[in-house]
């Protein structure tokens, strides 16, 4: 699907085959740097269907990461409404939002952001500490997630004992271990060589196609964006 087709769908020219899991209506996000007002997102509408794999592209400062943070419930809109997986995020308090994130969203970061004192298995287990699962089941699920990303033989390694590509795969395992509906990935290949980047993108594609995860990925890399079903471009806080 091209960006134009996606824009048409957003504008209502075509009826999506599946209901949207993400619905942004007239959202704006304004930051203040001292007395300077920064309108990072401006009256933006966006719908992403359940099970989609979409890429958000655009120059630095265009608002990609801000939009991703709003979708993931890490940040709050200044104006507008944002509904994700059936929840109006702007109406939720911080505690409810944190709980919702822990159940609904998986994060993949550019810098992997693994905890250096924890093994791969323990890093993947982290989101499960917020659940009622017992220690044994947590470990089993973390091991399964590592198996999905092909790192079952590295589960007791510390992040410093892994390559960049392996670290990012551990990061992906951490993002899926609690079976979230949505995975948000912020420049997931930004720190990787081509081969590792391809491995990570293959993995994201597989999670989307085989496991039905909705993936929203911010990237500068056109090759990475090509893997998504839809590429959207942002410029100065608006979808173009």
């Amino acid at each position: 699907m091209t960006q134009e087709q996606a824009a048409d769908e957003t504008a209502g020219k075509a009826t999506p085959a599946v209901p949207p899991i993400i619905e942004c209506r007239g959202i704006s996000r304004t930051f203040w740097r001292g007395k300077e007002r920064l309108d990072v997102l401006d009256d933006l509408d966006l719908e992403i269907p359940t099970g989609a794999f979409e890429a958000l592209m655009g120059p630095s400062g265009s608002g990609k990461s801000t939009l991703l943070n709003l979708i993931a419930g890490l940040d709050r809109v200044t104006r507008g409404t944002i509904k994700v997986a059936g929840h109006q995020l702007e109406r939720m308090n911080d505690a409810a939002l944190a709980k919702w994130r822990s159940q609904t969203v998986g994060f993949v970061f550019q810098h992997f952001n693994l905890i250096p004192v924890l093994t791969a298995l323990e890093n993947v287990e982290l989101p499960l500490l917020l659940t009622r699962l017992g220690a044994r089941e947590r470990k089993e699920r973390a091991a399964i997630a590592l198996r999905v990303v092909g790192l079952e033989d590295r589960m007791h390694h510390l992040p410093t004992q892994l390559s960049g590509g392996q670290e990012q795969r551990v990061g992906i395992a951490r993002s899926i271990v609690h079976d979230p509906k949505i995975i948000v990935a912020d420049e997931p290949t930004g720190e990787l060589d081509r081969q590792s980047a391809d491995d990570v993108l293959n993995l994201l594609q597989r999670l989307n196609e085989e496991f039905g995860k909705t993936i929203v990925m911010v990237t500068h890399d056109p090759a990475a964006a090509e893997r998504a079903q839809v590429q959207r471009k942002l410029d100065k806080g608006r979808l173009t």
Partner: protein, 392 residues
């Protein structure tokens, strides 16, 4: 893995910094335990003073002598005080070892016949006591003193007089042990008669104080009143106090020093808290992005606070335990023994009281928690998106 495990694992992150901080906390705890033990040891003589012993001395000051004949009003020669079981006079001799002149120990000339009846907590084997009573220049020395100078029963020892000038020769007749913490194990006692007969005529017949043992400590006040009333019309009036009061009076002279030690022990812990707070604050600053990640994953501010406080608690307790582990060999078995042997008059029993260990451990945990409050608040108030943008 549990939430607290992550906090504890963070302790191992920067090993050198953690090791230095733990060493700092351990040193502070060591110093705290040493000072508290010193204060306890110093005041223990008063705390553990025999409740059934009184001391009668010159009303003006205990430095001034009493006439020896006053004992006759205690021993039945001229009378007796009801409730007094035993009485003995003594005088401060103030001599020192002729070679090791800086090694202080208390030495007295005492009434040989009854002295150990008044001080039953100084235990002398009966046959040795009998021999001492028959030996004019005999001396009874404390076990710690004998050990320090290598004296044995039968040895001839010489002391250098300061109040009573000259070289004084004694024979070690007995070595006493003690059964209470209040008693100095480094004392040296000998016959008052030996001192008296060696003095020029004008100085003879004087004693320093009369120690008495009463049958019922609850009647001490009445006995004290009776004794002092007895000598009211005499040339030299007396002042009688309980042994505890006498010890407390002695300690009162050092109250400023004791208070200073008290303050220093608290200041040491405050310094420890600041060191720990600085370490934790540095760790929090370095891990800002990790806290952002945890928040993104759904961890709440109170979870973040637990990580920070848990880490501080782990470092504090580690330092506390290490400090105590060092305290026993260094203070209890090293310096403590040395102080008991060399400064037994001030520190008759220099051992770490169990409550001091518990307080030290408790304070290391409490102060670590307090030290972590500000860094924990800062970490828990982080904005997740801001934190994720931070480098490092």
């Amino acid at each position: 893995m549990r939430l607290l495990d992550l906090a504890v694992k963070n302790v191992r992150r920067n090993r050198l910094r953690t090791a230095l901080t733990v060493a700092g906390v351990a040193t502070a705890i060591l110093a705290f335990v040493f000072l508290r033990t010193g204060i306890t040891a110093w005041t223990s003589a008063a705390d553990n003073a025999a409740a059934d012993r009184l001391s009668t001395s010159h009303r003006v000051t205990f430095i001034m002598p009493l006439p020896k004949r006053y004992i006759e009003y205690f021993d039945g020669t001229r009378g007796r005080f009801e409730g007094v079981d035993a009485a003995a006079y003594a005088v401060w001799f103030g001599a020192r070892h002729p070679v090791q002149t800086d090694q202080f120990f208390a030495n007295f000339a005492v009434q040989a016949e009854t002295f150990f009846d008044v001080y039953p907590d100084m235990i002398v084997p009966p046959q040795d006591l009998a021999r001492w009573k028959e030996t004019r220049r005999g001396a009874v020395v404390g076990q710690a003193l004998a050990q320090k100078f290598g004296w044995k029963i039968g040895d001839i020892v010489r002391l250098e007089g300061t109040i009573y000038p000259g070289e004084w020769e004694f024979e070690v007749s007995a070595i006493y042990e003690t059964k209470t913490r209040a008693v100095d194990r480094s004392q040296f006692v000998f016959h008052w008669d030996y001192l008296n007969e060696s003095l020029p005529e004008p100085q003879r017949g004087q004693i320093g104080w009369i120690a008495t043992r009463v049958s019922d400590p609850t009647r001490s006040a009445a006995i004290i009143t009776a004794i002092d009333a007895k000598f009211e019309g005499f040339d030299v009036q007396t002042r009688t106090v309980t042994e505890k009061a006498a010890q407390t009076q002695f300690l009162a002279g050092f109250s400023a020093l004791l208070r200073a030690l008290d303050v220093v022990s608290v200041v040491i812990l405050l310094i420890m808290m600041l060191i720990l707070g600085n370490t934790i604050a540095m760790g929090v600053r370095e891990r800002t992005r990790e806290y952002g990640v945890l928040m993104a994953l759904g961890f709440r501010p109170h979870h973040i606070a637990v990580f920070v406080v848990g880490e501080a608690l782990a470092v504090g307790l580690l330092g506390g335990v290490l400090g105590l582990m060092l305290a026993y060999p260094i203070i209890q078995y090293g310096m403590g023994r040395w102080l008991e042997e060399n400064m037994g008059a001030f520190f008759p029993y220099f051992r770490i009281p169990p409550h001091v260990s518990l307080v030290a451990l408790g304070l290391s945990a409490l102060l670590a928690t307090i030290a972590a409050v500000l860094p924990a608040l800062a970490a828990s108030r982080l904005n997740a998106t801001e934190a994720l943008r931070r480098l490092g």
